[in-house]
Symmetry: C2
Subunit: 319 residues, 2 copies
């Protein structure tokens, strides 16, 4: 069986493009560019909690990198370097090779140098840490939403949740949009170009990983504001095309995680800028609500009635 160091040499050691020293020493050496701040994030993926142990290793590798890269997008930062600590119950070399290829493919797609990590024995667990750069003072945080700002969401959130429902046998999706739901679940595309383009335009931002309502609640809490969502503006079209059930589509949109779309706020007078950025990034941006000065989260229905919404997404350890 391959030893730890053989494994690292064969599968976890790729050329880097902007790193002084990669895999093979006590630490990697990177040179941040002048005038840049460093953004750091880590998202751990555990077998049985975040994915099924029998998940396709190539897709899993992509996803492990992507969910971390998405945190850079959510700050308006450019992802630059990533490490991967991994524990494996045993070495299945074909699994490791496919996993590493998926992880590296995502790194290459986003210009990220994979600079090192740790390989050890234990229950399957993936712990990447990603480092990005943002011009000093330009990161888009969660605490900048202000009364009167618009609330925006990119793309078609909820697709990954529908995809998961089909994988779990709860739902039978149809047509091309049904296919797209599975693609979004398996191969999320972090919105890095959009996140960086929104610097100076968005007032607050995050990536939707635990569900739109739950993640919006984080912005509201950190910014000490409330929000009202405009039900007719919610982007349900593609979800309906895939599953043909309004209730299911709405639930996926509001509470589904795993899409890694960007949820952001921006002052009303920057609507034109936001729309131009959406066109430039070739990504639909939906204006779905507005920020209120009083705490709380409401849904304004098409008939004008406002109802309070529970602002909670997925949370580990919550009973």
């Amino acid at each position: 069986m391959a030893g730890e160091f053989d494994l690292i040499r064969r599968y976890f050691n790729y050329p880097t493009s902007h790193t002084e020293l990669g895999v093979g020493d006590d630490g990697a050496l990177c040179v941040p560019r002048p005038g840049m701040q460093l953004v750091v994030s880590t998202d751990m993926l555990v077998a049985g909690t975040h994915f099924l142990p029998e998940a396709d290793p190539g897709l899993l590798g992509w996803k492990a990198a992507a969910v971390n890269v998405s945190d850079m997008a959510a700050m308006g930062a450019e992802p630059r370097w990533i490490t991967l600590a991994i524990s494996l119950p045993a070495v299945d070399e074909s699994w490791v090779a496919a996993f590493a290829r998926g992880f590296r493919d995502c790194c290459e797609a986003y210009g990220v140098d994979w600079i090192g990590g740790d390989t050890t024995r234990g229950p399957l667990n993936l712990a990447p840490t990603v480092f990005g750069e943002v011009p000093a003072g330009r990161a888009i945080r969660r605490d900048g939403a202000r009364h009167g700002d618009d609330v925006w969401i990119s793309g078609w959130p909820g697709m990954a949740a529908l995809g998961l429902a089909q994988v779990l046998g709860e739902l039978q999706l149809v047509g091309a949009w049904g296919e797209s739901c599975l693609e979004r679940l398996h191969r999320p595309m972090p919105r890095v170009a959009l996140g960086c383009a929104l610097r100076g335009t968005a007032s607050a931002m995050l990536d939707v990983s635990d569900g739109l309502l739950g993640d919006l609640a984080h912005i509201l809490e950190r910014s000490a504001v409330g929000a009202v969502l405009d039900e007719p503006a919610l982007p349900l079209e593609c979800l309906l095309a895939a599953c043909r059930r309004t209730e299911r589509a709405t639930a996926a949109l509001l509470s589904g995680g795993d899409d890694y779309e960007l949820l952001f706020t921006a002052p009303r007078e920057r609507r034109g800028q936001v729309e131009a950025i959406g066109r430039h990034c070739e990504l639909p941006l939906h204006r779905i609500g507005r920020i209120l000065d009083k705490p709380g989260l409401w849904l304004q229905r098409g008939d004008g009635v406002c109802e309070a919404l529970p602002g909670r997404g997925y949370e580990h350890f919550r009973n």
Copy 2:
């Protein structure tokens, strides 16, 4: 039961001293100092592989931070920031509180800001990632050892291995040095001051985590050289005082991991500098061998006979 976000708020959220934005956003924001390079490392600790599930949580917290900080010392870098991704099978709040206190204590002892992480459900797994700073071009790598250099080791490597043997019931240690062996096992003290002081003096360096011979082999391989160790110069005194068995003490010294002492090489003409640095850091530095131009690792016994040594330390997945 406490939810994920409550846990983070209560136990994983401490004030920082040199960080723009810590826990609570998609990523932390750090400002590297001008002229500095970034050193990044991650060491994962898994229950059942690196520690017993019933290990004292406070000591475990210290150790999880310390083994990562030690990788900064090994590069001659100053540890500055750390993240912690952790998976827990369930929430035992007293365990989490004690663990977090130990982790934070180590961070504080070494001036490291704990800036964020991830908390999730799964088999107990700790994945810190540490990053530090080193003046540009001054990191001490593994590939700089040259023919004729001296080989040095700090402190009394092997103590942690003897401590572990006692914990496993294989050995009964004696006296104050026996106590020290347990202390070294449970509460390793990364040699950060020494590592930084050796910039410009050491030609190659790493921290001994897998055993002196195995780790020395990494330097030899990366530097494309060999070495001979001088048996009478090996620092056995304290180990012998603790266990009174020469064979056991020698094995602990050469193959024991977990001490996190620094193993380094330095040109012969810098002996005086190395000795002065040892005095300044109040740490014994032992000159235990020299670098050869031909590959391989030998032990020169007191009677002048040279024997070849197996250059292998602990390796995960190795049968």
